[in-house]
């Protein structure tokens, strides 16, 4: 008998340690695990490193976690966005570190961590400031930059449907970074709108196999970051 379900989002993130590296799924508002992020705010871990494509919007979810002063460093591709005020203010005040990574390199570094590949070469960023200090090398007469894997201690994931073994499917473009973050994290924590028995998801359509998932929490009516932003909500 295998059952990865956990009773609550609070239980799911309870053991998050100070200094942890947390991969947060989502691209903008789509796929953002709002309830898990709010549980992490309540939980209180400090000095976190956050991996996310962006740096949060408004004053909810990831932006609210950043606003609470608990994030020491952001690793992302695009920390600017129209509704993003929290991160820019802290960054300009020198209160948060930033590692900007090209979006595809960010994705590939996560996938490499999940796949046991410590380093790889990519043409992306060759000759640009983002390649400064990185090793470059020619293959077939063309220059490439070496990039290394990017592991996370924890991944916070929003799925549409999960089974109790942790097999996942997602909703449309809310999939984005979730499958590779599930692979890259030591402990993958998933909030799912629906939880079903093993065997209920067709094996052909599983997107994230359960082997990449550690904890599953039922969040039947997840808040969508997009709705919260429109309503100008904040947390806590």
């Amino acid at each position: 008998m295998i059952d990865k379900t956990v009773a609550s989002v609070a239980d799911a993130v309870a053991d998050t340690e100070d200094g942890a590296t947390v991969a947060v799924a989502g691209f903008g508002a789509a796929g953002s695990p709002v309830e898990l992020l709010h549980a992490l705010i309540d939980q209180g871990a400090k000095k976190l490193t956050i991996i996310n494509n962006n740096a949060g919007n408004g004053k909810i979810g990831l932006a609210s976690l950043i606003d609470s002063g608990r994030v020491a460093k952001m690793i992302c591709s695009f920390p600017r966005s129209t509704g993003s005020v929290v991160f820019p203010d802290l960054y300009r005040a020198g209160k948060i570190d930033l590692e900007v990574v090209p979006q595809g390199t960010l994705a590939e570094r996560l996938r490499a961590a999940g796949a046991g590949i410590p380093a790889f070469y990519t043409p992306t960023s060759v000759g640009t400031p983002l390649a400064d200090g990185k090793e470059t090398r020619d293959f077939d007469g063309k220059a490439y930059v070496m990039e290394t894997w990017l592991h996370a201690d924890i991944a916070l994931i929003k799925a549409d449907v999960a089974d109790t073994h942790g097999n996942l499917i997602y909703n449309m473009t809310a999939r984005n970074f979730a499958p590779i973050m599930c692979m890259a994290a030591t402990t993958t924590i998933v909030q799912a709108r629906e939880i079903v028995d093993p065997g209920s998801i067709n094996p052909e359509i599983v997107v994230t196999p359960g082997i990449f998932v550690d904890r599953v929490i039922h969040v039947p009516n997840p808040e969508h970051e997009d709705d919260l932003l429109r309503a100008e909500r904040s947390y806590p």
Partner: protein, 209 residues
């Protein structure tokens, strides 16, 4: 009379063949989708994990989980598919995207592109997928006004802003002209109606042949 942004987009669309897999940058490049020539179909890639992207839907049919790389609501065309970010950028980096149309701050005569940062000290660096797209897509087109608002040329000898990619741009569609990047530098392909080659050269900071 210079071209409008719609006319620039329509002109770029003319140079994309039927069946092409196309990635359109945020802003002016997105207009290309409104001017697909008769008899052609383009398949749009959005780097957040969608192929077969359709136009912005009416308000009532929007789903916040169906967005494009600009985080705007989109729809699905028949034959669409979803995939994760590593697969999406495998499409880009692996040379499977036929055409990518992007905006630009500066394009140099050797095809170098700067479109992600002015290098200003207080700017928050933010690159997104721009560097992956220019390094990976088979053909890079740029749509941009020929000069900045204060008249400074955007087609230059050497980029002064931080680069996005080296020698990547093939063609530039501006309000004044279509300019190709060749091994000998900028080449004037076509001018907007009533715009002379002299005027284009005056507003370009590198020789046009």
């Amino acid at each position: 009379m210079s071209w409008t942004p719609d006319e620039m987009a329509a002109r770029a669309a003319l140079d994309i063949p039927n069946g092409a897999y196309v990635n359109l940058g945020i802003g002016m490049p997105e207009r290309v989708a409104n001017f697909v020539p008769e008899g052609r179909t383009f398949i749009y890639h959005s780097e957040n994990g969608l192929l077969g992207m359709g136009p912005e839907p009416v308000e009532t049919e929007r789903d916040p989980d169906l967005i494009n790389a600009g985080k705007k609501p989109v729809s699905l065309n028949p034959g669409a598919s979803f995939f994760h970010h590593a697969d999406s950028f495998a499409m880009i980096r692996g040379g499977h995207i036929d055409y990518c149309v992007l905006g630009a701050m500066q394009v140099a005569k050797n095809g170098d592109l700067a479109n992600w940062s002015t290098g200003a000290k207080d700017a928050i660096p933010a690159v997104g997928g721009a560097m992956d797209l220019v390094a990976g897509a088979k053909t890079i087109y740029v749509i941009t006004r020929h000069t900045t608002k204060d008249g400074t040329p955007k087609l230059v000898d050497t980029c002064t802003y931080p680069l996005t990619g080296l020698g990547v741009v093939k063609r530039i569609y501006t309000d004044l002209a279509v300019v190709a990047v060749s091994e000998f530098g900028f080449k004037l392909v076509e001018t907007a109606p009533g715009i002379g080659a002299d005027e284009v050269q005056t507003k370009t900071a590198a020789p046009l042949t």
